[in-house]
């Protein structure tokens, strides 16, 4: 796929951050994203998979905190970098993974930086 393939479609190059953490740590990531200025993000609850500690089951229906949750945030490079710095601090003590990548979006105003307090 090349830029030519988009024709006259205007796309904006931004950064994406994906984080997978224990559901019990969800609030920490939200606060951190707020502090970094991310204007929004998506969450995928009940993530299952295989990792260092073996297979992770999804949450059980009596315990919202028993599974993994995935965050997907897109923003300009600066807030994503700040979020990543914060995550590096968190992951010194907590289990979790982060993926950073370049992505293109069509509506850049949806991903503007917002300065709010945690």
């Amino acid at each position: 796929m090349t830029d030519t393939a988009f024709g006259d479609l205007v796309v904006h190059h931004v950064k994406k951050i994906e984080v997978i953490v224990r559901a019990e740590d969800q609030r920490m990531i939200e606060n951190l994203f707020h502090a970094a200025g991310l204007g929004g993000w998506s969450m995928i609850r009940d993530v299952a998979g295989f990792g260092h500690a073996g297979f992770h089951q999804g949450r059980t229906i009596f315990n919202d905190q028993s599974g993994l949750v995935m965050f997907v945030g897109v923003a300009e490079a600066a807030p994503i970098a700040e979020a990543a710095r914060g995550l590096a601090r968190l992951f010194q003590s907590l289990p979790g993974v982060t993926f950073l990548s370049d992505v293109a979006v069509m509506r850049s105003d949806y991903f503007a930086t917002v300065r709010t307090e945690p």
């Binding site: 609030r27 073996g54 009596f62 028993s66 010194q92």
Partner: protein, 845 residues
Amino acid sequence: MTMLTTIKVAEPVLARPETAALVALAARRVAPLWPLQSAIAVNPLSGFEDLEYDEAVREGANCFEARENLPLNAWRNLLRAGRIDAVTLQKVVIERLGGLEPALAPIGPDVSRLDLLMARLIDLPADDQPRSAGLPADAAFIAKWCAAFFDQGQTAATMPGRDLGFYRAVLALLPHDRDYRDLTGAAGARLLHCVPRDPLDAIAEGLSALEVAADAAQSHLAALVARLPGWAGHIRWRTDHAEPEDTAGAPAGMADLIALWILLERAGALAAPAMPSPPPIDAHALAARFGLARETFGKGWDDVAAIAAIPAPELSRLFMISAERGYRDTIVPDLAAAAKLGVAPQTPQAQLVFCIDVRSEPFRRALEAQGAYETFGYAGFFGLPIARHAHGNKRRQRQLPVLLAPQHDITETPAPGADSAALLRARAFRASTSGWLGTAKQGLGSAFATAEATGALAGTLMAARTLAPRLVRRIADSIAPSADQVMAPDLDTHALRRDFPAFTLTEKLGYASLLFKMTGLATPTARLVVLTGHTGSAVNNPYAAALDCGACGGHSGGFNARVLAALLNDADVRDGLADEGLIVPASTLFLAAEHNTTTDAVTVFDRDRIPSSHQEDLAVLCAALDRAGAANRQARAAKLGRAADDLITGALHWGEVRPEWGLAGNAAFVVGPRWLTRAIDLDGRAFLHSYDWTTDPDGHTLAMILTAPMVVAQWINCQYLFSTIDNQRYGSGDKTTQNPIGRIGVVQGNGGDLRVGLPRQSLFADDGTPYHLPQRLLTVVHAPFERIEAVVTAHDILARLFGKGWVQLVAIDPVTGKAKVWASDSQIAAHPGAFHPTSQQENRS
């Protein structure tokens, strides 16, 4: 006074998200603290659960200046009273010394290591463990502002500027605060001019100014959080669990609290933590206990010195392990024997599903003695993730464990045929009276006049409530009927979206079906199936919610029972269940009831809607419930040292400090069919969750039981354990000197930190002897070993709790009846294999 004080202003090194991350990690140092009206049991060391139990306790003791275990003298008293088995203690000591040979080998004239260690345990003077001093001035200062800011309507004049947030609001008022001036002097005054107004920025700048190393920043902030664990716990509740209306207009996070601490620290006003250490034990004194001197030991003197140097907390730990081992070795053989015997089929007169709460166990046993009654244990919220919008109450009530978020908002409607007018009139009168009386009492000009005008009436009422509490209650009940009898859950209307029902049919079917899957309840069912929630009764008791159902968010469980009973009586639900192979006979009627654990009365709800065809069944059951209640009340009264009838008075008396023992004594969580435990008197110490392994081939049900109800049971167990070990730091101290504050918690005396944990009267007898024996939870599961292993290894939380010694897991194989113990992480490292025979589990920590 004018004086130039140099304030170090440094550029922050940390970015805001880094500071936010450090604050979030530091906040984990304390457990959330729920307000009193929905008291939820938590482990005060939940922030240390990633560590091995022993290490966590040591870290916690250092962090909170708390004890690691009960004082040695308290354990000795328990040993003398026969509550610790002397033989078990000796076995534990032998294992501590490395086995029989090293324990019994003589190291001096007629003296062995065993003799020496037993002497330290039982005979020699015991040094108490470190205890905290009073609240230092810096903590008292922060606590004062916490109380002012977090007040939820108790004060007549609220703190100005609350909408700015905790840190900013306090900063704005500090120039007028004499305590601040006294504490921080000129440095504090100058700091007020230059510190950032944003708490995260203030923390980042403060860490730089204080030259805290990057790798020490997290522990530095965590230590600040731990200085006031009660208020910090309240902030954690606000941040993670409160409803939006609880915090509206007064935002506050852990960053606000830490920023205030940093302000004091930068002003040089932080008190050094007091860490008194117990004096070392003199080896000569130990030798002298046997009439010997150092010379007589020769090379064995090193052993004497080593045993003399064992810290007091480790000695207490040996007692605790003895208590745990003695308990395990008492009940596990009985359960294993029952597993071998199997079940004899019976046709029950009625089936009753109780909450797993330990207080249900003796009541179930008493009821089963009355006839062919089959009982089950299920989490007391009956699997319903609901919030209750009680009639006349503006706030919704979460009727579910804190592990879950509500998915259904249930409103109430007048029950068919019930006269709700009297209730509404009484509520309107009460609201109006408390409104003007509250205003008059708190007014500067009217307070004394109000006291003068109403004093005689109030005095008369107090005298009546003191001398005739039952009569007063009867009069009150005649004026205003019980809301539970007049109002009923409305399943046809969502409380927040009135055009929608509270449940779809699919959801109804899911919750109905879950009852059968989770408990092993099989069809055909009996003519009556009674879902029995529970509640407690206490008057003028800040801890009343602690007697209610923890699975229902610290509220009464009858509401959930009514909702599920209504679902199960729904014809469409019955059809759906039949499609799943659960054919409930048309003759089966599901009823809702509530067991009052203080009085042992059982209230059956919606009796007027029970068809005549089942009235006789109900009459027989109610008579059996009455007899069971009387028998259980008698047994409980003996444990309280009172007359059975006195418990009913105590439930209504404003001066009662111990209406019941609550969950004191809790020690085990048994997952298995009732026939496994039915013949065993578990003495009200066991949570019983029904489970049939034969209907759970993939282990999903077992996973749900272990990751939710058992986790809640572990929180309860740890709350009782640590509240007993150090009632001042992990508990809330003596009830008689407590004061409720801000409608959110209690303090001792007139200020200070919010108290966490349970009061002394809930754990100790009047003579100071622990009624609650501090020991970790023993979980027993009746299922094949490999299935249990698969469930535990697939869930981090279970692997952590069992592997790190917070809970001991015993599995009983349903076919062979053989029992094995889940090995700790360190034991697995030494001897691979998740399950070990019980004999290899000695001296486990």
